[in-house]
């Protein structure tokens, strides 16, 4: 039920911002835990033995590019350019998938190198933190995929620009979180 808005922002958009605020506390707690426990492992492997910074830099770049495509998708639907909308939504989701593929490869690699989830404090904090982020990316990919399918069915037009915008808000948020994680986990190793 979309009544008149007292703030001028639609209910849905306000809800997304609110949700993002709450998510900041979620990731804030996870990140704080990671930082508190950094360097407190009593058994290896240790982060500096495993983290593959060049590889993650590439997937980070892919995720960043997906945010750019999200912006293009929104611009397209606002112009009512449905063909471009479809393309950019697809590309955003695809790049998100590539990022997730990279994460899957990384996790697998770590487990092979002797770092299963239950190995030590690093494995506990690392997998749960980046895994939670990965779950958010996966949710975003599904959401974008749904929008893409609706677009191909011709059920998405300029009147739905806000729907795309809200998905974009979420997507950008998840990207920003990754920038923070990339900096704290990989660059400050």
């Amino acid at each position: 039920m979309e009544g008149p808005s007292s703030t001028g922002v639609s209910n849905r958009k306000l809800a997304m911002w609110t949700f993002i605020g709450s998510e900041c506390m979620l990731f804030g707690t996870l990140i704080a835990t990671y930082l508190i426990y950094r360097g407190r492992n009593v058994v290896g492997p240790y982060p500096d033995e495993l983290l593959n910074i060049p590889f993650i830099t590439v997937t980070t770049f892919v995720l960043l590019m997906s945010s750019l495509m999200m912006v293009l998708a929104l611009a397209a639907i606002e112009r009512n350019d449905l063909k471009k909308t479809k393309i950019w939504l697809f590309m955003t989701a695809l790049f998100g998938l590539i990022f997730l593929g990279g994460q899957y490869y990384e996790f697998n690699h770590f487990v092979h190198e002797g770092l299963p989830l239950s190995r030590n404090l690093f494995s506990s904090t690392f997998f749960v933190l980046t895994g939670t982020h990965g779950g958010h990316v996966a949710g975003g990919v599904i959401w974008l995929g749904t929008l893409f399918v609706r677009a191909t069915q011709g059920k998405l037009d300029a009147t739905h620009a806000e729907t795309v915008e809200i998905a974009g808000l979420y997507w950008h948020f998840v990207d920003v979180i990754w920038i923070v994680l990339f900096t704290l986990i990989y660059l400050l190793v």
């Binding site: 039920m1 009544g3 008149p4 808005s5 007292s6 703030t7 922002v9 639609s10 209910n11 306000l14 809800a15 609110t18 949700f19 605020g21 709450s22 998510e23 506390m25 979620l26 804030g28 707690t29 996870l30 835990t33 508190i36 426990y37 407190r40 492992n41 009593v42 058994v43 989830l117 239950s118 030590n120 404090l121 494995s123 506990s124 904090t125 997998f127 749960v128 939670t132 749904t146």
Partner: protein, 625 residues
């Protein structure tokens, strides 16, 4: 024209029509905030009774020293369930029940911002509660206490499913709670009637807004803590494992960084109720409205900076303890401000002692005691003798019963006529108040002494030579009285539902918007969205109406501004939907699967996704009303 004819003219819909019409399917699929509020109310009342019986059993065990009525394992399970249920499945949902029913009416809205999400929140609450209690027939009740300190709750020291039930049910309930937080935050921010500026909001709505923010900020850290606990228990991670280099105290931080704001989540709505009830029954607007609002905001803000006061005996050092002790003391200031402003509101008024007012006054008196004992353990050294003893048990029951429960009872008596169109009996209401007030004090006041004389909490027994026998016996007698005190309440509800006097739109001559609509309100609440030009819009300028208002208000007082009987133009209301239920069931199945079956988790995920897509592609409103 008699009072009741007056009321009918004002659109008295009658109990068994409108809001309450329709079969069970109409309740299962409802997205009407009023109905969801009623569902919340009835469900949490059941949980309140169950947890009350649990508390009663605890008191029975402690009636005399070295009693063998309950064995220690069962005792430990019962106090864990008592605390967990009271906080998450009785206290909070009871508050949400009032948010649901009252907030949209107070701000002049036709529903909440996201009616289907609202239904989902309810289902998740219900399912999480049922899931927690499914541990009873499985004989796997959690037994780690409601704050579940690690490492006692690790798989090493608490094997079995007990603590898994705790973790999973609170995760499930937490999702619904956060969704509710988003919903009410957006509703209050965005769906206020024209002219309903922030500084015109009724205090209850103000507190609902603040509490929504608290929920949004406090629940995520708790969720993360629960996830860590789940991973430690189920997947062998080491978040709280000292042997792996971790610090088990992290759990305490995560828990209390949520747990202390949770206290304000529980108490601020009660303050909100009282801030609406005291003016209505003093016939005088709230004294110092902006100060009361800002003191509420301040309490919430400070509430995030005081969690370590639950941990003064942990040994965090003098600086940490001094800072958090000082911050905790600061909270006494805005709390005191509220109390003084309530008294100043009554000062010079014409106080009518109807039941809602009795409970409101009871709150002011009892909460003061809880607040003062709170200042005692805000002082970290003094707290070293008080924490984890019955002194603290006394303190938080004064806050949570003398504050939250009294406030919610006040709200129940205040808004029951609005919700049902019927008046509760004043005689039974007064009996209920006095019995409750006396029983509550008899139960909990002696606990101050048993605590200071050396009784730790969470002990299933105490030695004969400690000198605690008398205090414990009095507490147990009080607990029995407390149980009996519920009898007049239920008689009253039953009587009013069957044959209560018609209430009319505004039986109390109260000043806020919910009293302009009929009782119970129509589906669409407001035939015409009102325009608000002042605080307490029904009072100023004074129009002397109502009958006998100088004494106790009789049913059938009228309000000066009434809604038209029918909306002049079609109103679009959201359609009922079963997708929230489908999604809730899916999430319940996932939760149950997390006890040990990946297949069940995937099944639940599939159902959840089905519900989500069904929801997303369902048109949310079709025709006109």
């Amino acid at each position: 024209m008699t009072a009741s004819e007056h009321a009918l003219d004002n659109g008295d819909a009658g109990v068994h029509e409108g809001l309450y019409a329709g079969g069970i399917w109409s309740w299962v699929t409802t997205v009407d905030h009023k109905r969801i509020g009623i569902l919340y109310f009835l469900t949490s009342l059941v949980f309140l009774l169950v947890a009350g019986v649990e508390g009663q059993l605890l008191r029975l065990q402690l009636a005399r020293p070295e009693n063998r009525f309950l064995d220690p394992d069962l005792y430990n399970q019962l106090f864990t369930m008592h605390g967990t249920t009271m906080v998450f499945f009785a206290g909070m949902p009871l508050i949400v029940a009032f948010f649901n029913f009252v907030v949209p009416l107070q701000i002049g809205a036709r529903d909440v911002a996201f009616p289907r999400l609202n239904a989902l929140s309810y289902w998740l609450f219900l399912f999480a509660g049922l899931f927690l209690y499914s541990s009873v027939p499985l004989r796997a009740m959690p037994d780690g206490g409601w704050f579940a300190y690690m490492p006692l709750t690790s798989s090493e020291y608490s094997p079995g499913l007990g603590m898994d039930f705790y973790v999973l049910s609170l995760l499930l309930a937490g999702i619904g709670t956060i969704a509710g937080g988003v919903n009410f935050f957006v509703t209050i921010l965005n769906m206020r009637a024209p002219g309903m500026r922030f500084m015109r909001l009724p205090l209850f709505t103000w507190m609902a807004l603040i509490v929504s923010v608290l929920i949004l900020l406090a629940f995520p850290p708790f969720t993360v803590g629960l996830v860590f606990m789940m991973f430690d228990r189920s997947f062998g991670t080491h978040f709280f494992d000292a042997a792996a280099g971790a610090d088990p105290v992290l759990w305490q931080h995560l828990f209390w960084v949520f747990g202390h704001p949770e206290v304000y989540i529980l108490i601020l709505p009660a303050f909100g109720v009282v801030s609406d009830v005291i003016p209505a029954f003093s016939r005088k607007s709230l004294f110092g409205y902006p100060v009361v609002v800002f003191s509420g905001i301040l309490i919430a803000f400070l509430g995030f900076g005081v969690w370590v006061h639950h941990m003064f005996s942990v040994g965090l050092g003098p600086v940490v303890n001094a800072v958090f002790g000082g911050a905790t003391m600061l909270i006494a200031i805005p709390t005191g401000i509220k109390i003084f402003n309530w008294i100043a509101t009554m000062w010079g008024g014409q106080i009518r002692f109807n039941t809602p007012m009795l409970f409101a006054i009871g709150l002011v008196g009892s909460f003061t005691i809880g607040g003062l004992s709170g200042v005692m353990h805000a002082s970290p050294p003094a707290d070293l003798q008080q924490t984890d003893t019955y002194f603290v048990v006394a303190h938080f029951h004064y806050v949570l019963i003398g504050g939250t429960v009294f406030g919610l009872f006040s709200g129940l008596y205040y808004w029951f006529p609005k919700a049902t169109g019927r008046m509760l009996s004043e005689a039974l209401g007064k009996a209920h108040f006095w019995l409750t007030f006396i029983a509550f004090n008899v139960t909990f006041f002696p606990m101050h002494f048993s605590g200071l004389l050396g009784m730790p909490r969470r002990t299933f027994t105490y030695a004969e030579g400690l000198g605690l026998d008398v205090f414990n016996l009095i507490s147990t007698i009080g607990a029995f009285m407390f149980t009996f005190a519920f009898i007049p309440l239920f008689l009253n509800l039953w009587r009013a539902w069957r044959k209560g006097e018609p209430a009319g739109a505004n039986p109390w001559d109260a000043p806020t918007l919910e009293w302009t609509v009929s009782s119970p309100p129509p589906h669409y609440n407001f035939a015409v969205i009102p325009t608000v030009d002042r605080r307490d819009p029904l009072w100023h300028p004074h129009i002397e109406v109502g009958l006998g208002w100088a004494g106790e208000v009789e049913p059938g007082g009228v309000s000066p501004r009434v809604q038209p009987k029918e909306p002049p133009e079609p109103v679009h209301m959201p359609d009922p939907s079963y997708w929230p239920l489908v999604m809730g069931i899916g999430m319940l199945v996932m939760t149950a699967g997390a006890l040990g079956s990946l297949g069940v988790v995937l099944l639940g995920l599939a159902v959840t996704m089905l519900g989500l897509f069904g929801w997303a592609f369902e048109p949310s409103e079709s025709g006109a009303h």
